[in-house]
Each structure stands twice: as C-alpha cells, then as structure tokens.
C-alpha cells in the first residue's frame, strides 16, 4: 500500500494534512495516534470509502481512485464505526460478501464454515448480527474481510472492544496471514498490541504523520509508549491539579 500526499478537509477543519506512507509488501504495519488524529480518515481514503481532496492511494500497485475494481479485488477491509448488513445472520453475511466478490458458491460455503468455526461464531448460528456482542461483531467483520483470501488487509481498530481471548485469536490469525506473505495495516491506540505484533510503525497526530519506519527505528532504546507520548506532545500529570481527588 502506498499513499501520496493525501489531504482531507471537513468543512473548514483540516482532518488529514498531506499523509504519504509506504507500506512494504509482507509487512505488519501499525498506525498509531490519539483519538481524532485522522487515522480512520486516512484509512478510509486509502481503501476508497472517502474521496481525498488531494493525493493518490495505491493498493498493490493499482490506483484506488482511478481503477477501483482492480485495486479492491485483493483487498480486505474492516472499517471502524461502520455497520455491517446486520439484519443478516453470520453465515448469510459471509455468503453475501463472498458472492459480491464474485466467488463461486462451493468455495464460499466451505470457507465461510471454516471461518465461522475458527472464530468460534458457530457455522449454524441463526442469531442476527445486530444481536451479536461487540467482540463477535469485530470477529464476523474480520471473517468478511478474510473470506476472499486478500493479499492486503486494512483494519481500523480491530482490537477495540474485543475481549482478551478473542484478541489473542485475532492476533494469531493475523500473524499467520503475514507469515503466509500477506500485508496487514491496522490502526490502534493500544501500544502493547502494536509493540508485540508490528514490524513497522507510523505515529499520527492532528492529521500529520509524525514518525514512521521499522519498529526498531521508531522506538530506539525507549518503550513505544514513551516515544508516542513525546511525539504526540501529551502531558504527564504533575500532582498539583485534581488535588481534591
């Protein structure tokens, strides 16, 4: 994935101010940033959900905005804050995604069942997705993103609201995906997960990319959290304020 000078305004507010980023094939890339840093906006522009004011996005070498069909064919997306077609059951939703991707029915059936079993969602479960718990929704979303065996996965906050057991499962699946030659880009504000999983990291704040590179380059000999707080310019509580607590 490669982004060149992406810019996005909302009304008068500058949400993303010229982000350029090279994600090497086969890397596990973590996009870090505080709330409101522009992570979701950047990723939405990268996958073709939000038209950038300026700049280009290439997925596996294809321009998302010039040739969307080809660029999206080998891409799996898990957007954040976006609903699924949640009046379908889990199996129905997976079948829907598979057929929309132009897969044949036999492959869809076989892969959907396998994904539902591995993610512990139950291949015969007839609960509507709208009634799933937050963690289950993330898992079914991930299953939808993986169904057509993409080469690039773009995940927005995949670990938000997920319990530790499911998180471990998702981590495991993603690591296997990268080991098999796939590329993962995901956003998060949980340092531990990023430090454990990623080989590349980028830190965003206020719509600007502050630092990026391999994990070792970015953090040096400090902890990732220290680097993050320093780069973003957060403050550390001193003790004089909130004394009444």
């Amino acid at each position: 994935m490669s982004l060149h000078g992406l810019v996005k305004h909302f009304d008068t507010k500058l949400a993303v101010a010229g982000v350029s980023l090279e994600v090497p094939a086969g890397s596990f890339y973590g996009l870090l940033g505080p709330n409101g840093a522009g992570k979701t906006t950047t990723l939405s522009m990268a996958v073709g959900l939000l038209r950038p004011d300026q700049g280009h996005a290439f997925l596996l070498g294809y321009d998302v905005w010039a040739d969307p069909a080809t660029a999206k064919a080998r891409l799996g997306v898990l957007p954040d804050g976006v609903r699924l077609f949640d009046r379908l059951t889990g199996p129905e939703l997976l079948a829907y995604h598979g057929l929309l991707r132009g897969m044949d029915a036999a492959t869809v059936n076989q892969r959907a069942r396998e994904l539902l079993e591995v993610l512990e969602l139950g291949s015969g479960n007839r609960t509507l997705v709208v009634d799933y718990s937050a963690g289950m929704k993330k898992k079914i979303g991930l299953a939808c993103a993986l169904l057509h065996a993409p080469r690039l996965l773009v995940l927005d906050e995949p670990f938000e609201a997920v319990d530790p057991v499911s998180a471990a499962l998702i981590r495991d699946i993603l690591q296997r995906f990268v080991a098999g030659g796939g590329t993962v880009v995901f956003s998060s504000h949980v340092m531990e997960v990023v430090e454990r999983l990623c080989d590349h990291v980028a830190i965003m704040s206020s719509g600007v990319l502050r630092m990026h590179g391999t994990l070792a380059q970015v953090k040096g000999d400090r902890s990732l959290e220290e680097v993050f707080v320093q780069v973003v310019g957060g403050r550390v509580a001193t003790g004089s304020e909130l004394a009444w607590l």
């Binding site: 009304d11 996958v47 073709g48 959900l49 939000l50 038209r51 969307p68 069909a69 999206k72 064919a73 891409l75 997306v77 957007p79 804050g81 976006v82 609903r83 699924l84 077609f85 949640d86 009046r87 379908l88 059951t89 199996p91 129905e92 997976l94 079948a95 829907y96 995604h97 598979g98 057929l99 929309l100 991707r101 132009g102 044949d104 029915a105 869809v108 059936n109 959907a112 069942r113 539902l116 139950g122 291949s123 015969g124 479960n125 007839r126 609960t127 509507l128 009634d131 718990s133 939808c144």
Partner: protein, 533 residues
C-alpha cells in the same frame, strides 16, 4: 458535597442551547429553521383568526361548536402527527439523563418544560389564543381569564399526550416481542387517516348543524374538549361546570405524565441493558443457501436481491413502509367508492406512490452500504437489484389493487388494463425516484426509536420526494387520458402499452441513477452516515 434541587430552567436552557448549536454555521439548517418559523407563524395566524370568528360575529352557538371541536382537532393533531409524519424532537433524549442523580419527578417536569419550549407549542398557543379573543367578546374579562387558563391547560394536554404516546410506542417497538404488533398498529393508523378523512367529509356533507351541536356538547365533557369550553361556560353562566372541567383536564394531564414517566424509565433502563436471547436452533444448511432464495441465481445480483428482500422484511422501518403502502393502496379504491367517486380515479397515483418507498433507499442502509463500496459493486447492478427486490413485493400488490378496482367497478374486464396503468406509473415513478435516491439521500438516525427524526436536511429532502410523486403522476397522465379517449380498445391494449411505458421510464431513470452512483459512491456514503455526537 451539597446539591441544590434542580428546577425546570436547566432543561429549558439546555433545549434552547441545543437548538442554537444545531443551527450554528449550517446555512441549510438555518433556512429550514426559518421555513419552520414561517410555517408555524402561518398556522398561528390562521388558527387565531378562525378561533376568533365566533366572537367577531357574536354568535355563542357557533362558539359552542367551534371551540370544543377545534380544540379536539388540535389535540388529535398533536397525537397523530408525531406518530405518523414528523417524529418527535429527541434532542433531549431521556436516555442521556440515565446516569444523572435526578429524581423522576424532576426529570419528567424538566423534559415536559423542554418539550413546551419549541415552535409547535408556541404556534399552538398562539392559534388557540384566538379562543380567548372569542371568550372576551362574548363574556367579558372573566370569561377571557377562564378561557386563557383553559387554553394553557389544553396546550399542556397536547404536549403531554404526544410525549406519552410516542414514548409508549417507542418502548413497545424496542422489545422484539411487541415490536411487530406496534409497527402494524401504526401502519394501520396511518392507512386509516385517508379513509377517515373522506368519511368525515362525506358525513359533513350530509349532517345538519343540530347533530354537530350535540356532538360538540358531548365532546366538551371529554378531556380533549373540556379545557377549551370553560370560557364559554362563564359567558353563559354555567359556572358550576368550570371546576369539574378543570378537574377533568388536570387529572388527564397528570395521568398522561405518569404514563410517560413509566415508559421513560423503561426506555432509560433499556438503553443500558438490552435482552439478548438466542431464539432459533442451529442449522446445518450451507451459508449460501441460507442467504439466497431457492431460484435466485448464485451470483452477485442474486446475493444483492436476496439481501434486499430479507431487509424489506427484517428491518422495522422498511417493513412499516411496506405495510403502510399496502394498506393505503388497497383501501384507497374502497374509500373512493364510498365517497361516491370512481374507484379507478387514483390509479396512477397509487402506482407512483409505490415507487416512493425507494426514495431514500440508501439512507435505510446507513453505513452498512460501505460493504458494497469496498466489494466494488457496479452502479448498474446495485440499482437494478434494489429495484428488482422492491418489485418482487410491489407487483403482486399492484395486481391485487387492479383486482380490487375491477371488482368495485363491477367490471372484471378492466383488470388487465388497470394493471397496465399501475405498472406504467410504477415504472415512471421508479425512473424518477432512483436518481433521487442517489442524489438526495439523507441519513436516518441509528436510533431504536423509529420516530426519532434526523434533525437537519432530512425532512426537506422528503419534500423533494413529494415533488417526484407529482412529477410521476404528470408524466403518466397522458396514458390515463388516452385510456379515457379511446375507450374500449384500451381494455385490449392497456396492459402491453402500460408495461412498455413503465419499462421505458424505468430504463431511462435507472440508467441515469447507475451513472450517478458510479461517480458518487463515496459522497453517497458520506451523506447517509449519521453524525455521531
């Protein structure tokens, strides 16, 4: 830590602040707000003028009919309009107060005061003030004072009844079990309004004024008429009635507020903990067979159509619109016959109305539509699949409507040609509505309350849909005229000509819509994404 008792002013100020913030920096909303003010002002002036008439012409007899019956109409308006058309202003959503340490009484009086702060309440007050004018002319200052108290009580009654009923319905719709029942009741209510209106008109043409007068005398003793008739009682010296009528009105208001407070409480609890229950047993059928209907092709198109069909049935808002339309379409010919009209005179209107359900089809999906963008569904497939799914529900219904019209006019031979007219209007309607659904989509709130309206441009775009309806009727009109002029031959050629006309309309419109969609998918997604607050 000490806390002071909370009065109603913080709620009122919060409401005003929210209204002001909602307008800041948004020119379209300001325009809509101004339009709302003008409309409210118009309503207020017309209402005041009408209610002041009995005083001006100095006729206590007319006043005795107009005041209680007019007041009843105002209260019924407050009851039905939010339920069916406009929704309620949920800017002060009770669920947002769930975590604050407020006693129930404080919360209810506060929310009630906030509900009174608004254009509709102000306009109603101004309109019904015309009754005070009448009372003053008929009975002097004492009668005017009494009527003023009555008008205030009436306003409280209006607001209390609308809040209590919408809240109760919303609670019913939140729980899975009673939801279907509530949705259907609503649809029936909505569908009943048209026929009721016609029946009332027919009744008014026949009835004599003595009947109306006795109805008014009875209504004056019911909670909906009592507050509006006390000024007249003073004027005519029936002072003993006043305490009784005040009591009736007050007791009703208190009872409504109490009812409201119980449903508000359950709404607040429901917002934090919803019941989750697995209702159906597991299945072993393969996922694709679960999604697709038996004869649907196992392709992208088949998947899209099957998903749409399931959504028309599984999503409350969509199902409510289907049920409402079915009722209206089947009852309209019946009520036209009762009203001594021709059952076929509204044919093209019904056909065009059918297509209107798709006017905000993408708004129904909300952000879920992102799925179709990331999987790269072409615009043509998207538009055609949605229209197909809707037609699968609509065409059998239109056949039924044609059959009803044929039966009512005692002329079964006209069923095919009537169906031809219906399908022509439906096709033309789709041809206009589909581009509209791409260009003028708007976000629906992701609320569990189906009456919660999006604040913002939504209603204005709903008006656009009305314009489209009229345009569709006009474009289909030539066909109806041809049918009138060529007479019996139409019975033979009506069906094929109608289908050809409708198909042409559909092909042109859907082509335009598909082109638009291919160019504007991300922009469309942005317009149907609800603002997260």
């Amino acid at each position: 830590m000490t806390t002071k008792a909370v009065g109603v002013w913080p709620f009122v100020r919060l409401k005003l602040r929210l209204t002001a913030n909602g307008l800041r920096g948004r020119p379209t909303r300001i325009v809509l707000f101004v339009l709302g003010v003008l409309l409210a002002g118009f309503f207020a002036i017309v209402g005041y003028a009408s209610f002041a008439v009995p005083g001006v012409i100095d006729d206590p007899h007319v006043a005795g009919m107009l005041l209680p019956l007019g007041g009843t109409a105002v209260i019924l308006g407050w009851l039905f309009f939010p339920l069916i058309f406009f929704g309620v202003d949920e800017s002060l959503d009770p669920a947002r107060f769930a975590l604050l340490p407020l006693p129930r009484r404080t919360l209810i009086t506060g929310l009630f005061a906030a509900a009174l702060t608004g254009l509709p309440a102000l306009a109603t007050l101004a309109a019904t003030a015309g009754m005070v004018d009448s009372a003053a002319r008929l009975g002097g200052p004492v009668a005017a004072t009494a009527q003023a108290a009555g008008v205030l009580l009436g306003l409280f009654l209006c607001v209390a009844v609308s809040r209590a009923v919408t809240s109760a319905f919303a609670t019913a719709l939140r729980s899975r079990r009673s939801r279907d029942l509530a949705a259907i009741t609503l649809a029936l209510l909505a569908a009943a309004i048209g026929p009721l209106q016609l029946a009332a008109l027919a009744g008014a043409q026949r009835a004599d004024w003595d009947t109306v007068g006795s109805v008014a005398r009875v209504v004056a003793w019911t909670p909906v008429g009592a507050p509006y008739s006390i000024g007249l009682d003073v004027a005519e010296g029936r002072t003993w009635q006043i305490p009784l009528k005040l009591l009736i009105a007050l007791a009703t208001i208190v009872a409504l507020l109490w009812w409201w407070s119980t449903t508000v409480e359950s709404a607040m609890v429901g917002a934090t903990a919803g019941p989750r229950r697995k209702t159906t047993a597991d299945t072993t059928r393969p996922p694709v067979d679960l999604l697709l209907f038996r004869r649907a092709p196992r392709t992208r198109f088949g998947a899209l159509v099957s998903r749409e069909i399931r959504y028309w049935w599984r999503e409350t808002r969509r199902r409510a619109s289907l049920v409402t339309f079915s009722m209206a379409a089947l009852f309209l010919p019946v009520s036209l016959t009762l009203g001594a009209g021709s059952p076929g005179s509204m044919t093209i209107f019904v056909g065009a109305l059918a297509s209107l359900a798709l006017a905000n089809q993408f708004g129904f999906d909300g952000t879920a539509y992102a799925t179709n963008i990331t999987t790269g569904v072409p615009g043509r497939v998207e538009i055609n699949s949605r229209a197909t799914a809707h037609a699968i529900f609509t065409i059998p219904l239109l056949i039924a409507v044609a059959a009803v019209i044929g039966a009512l006019s005692a002329n079964p031979a006209r069923i095919p040609s009537t169906f031809g007219l219906l399908i022509a209007a439906y096709g033309v309607g789709l041809g206009l509505v589909l581009p509209l659904s791409v260009r003028a989509a708007y976000a629906l709130p992701e609320s569990t309350n189906p009456f919660a309206m999006s604040s913002g441009g939504g209603p204005a775009k709903g008006l656009l849909a009305m314009g489209v309806l009229i345009a569709a009727v006009i474009i289909s009109l030539p066909l109806q005229l041809i049918a009138l002029f060529i007479g019996p031959i139409w019975l033979w050629i009506g069906l094929p000509v109608g289908i050809a006309y409708g198909a042409a309309g559909y092909l042109i419109g859907s082509g335009v819509a598909a082109d638009q969609l291919d160019k504007r998918m991300p922009e469309l997604l942005a317009t149907i994404t609800p603002n997260r607050s």
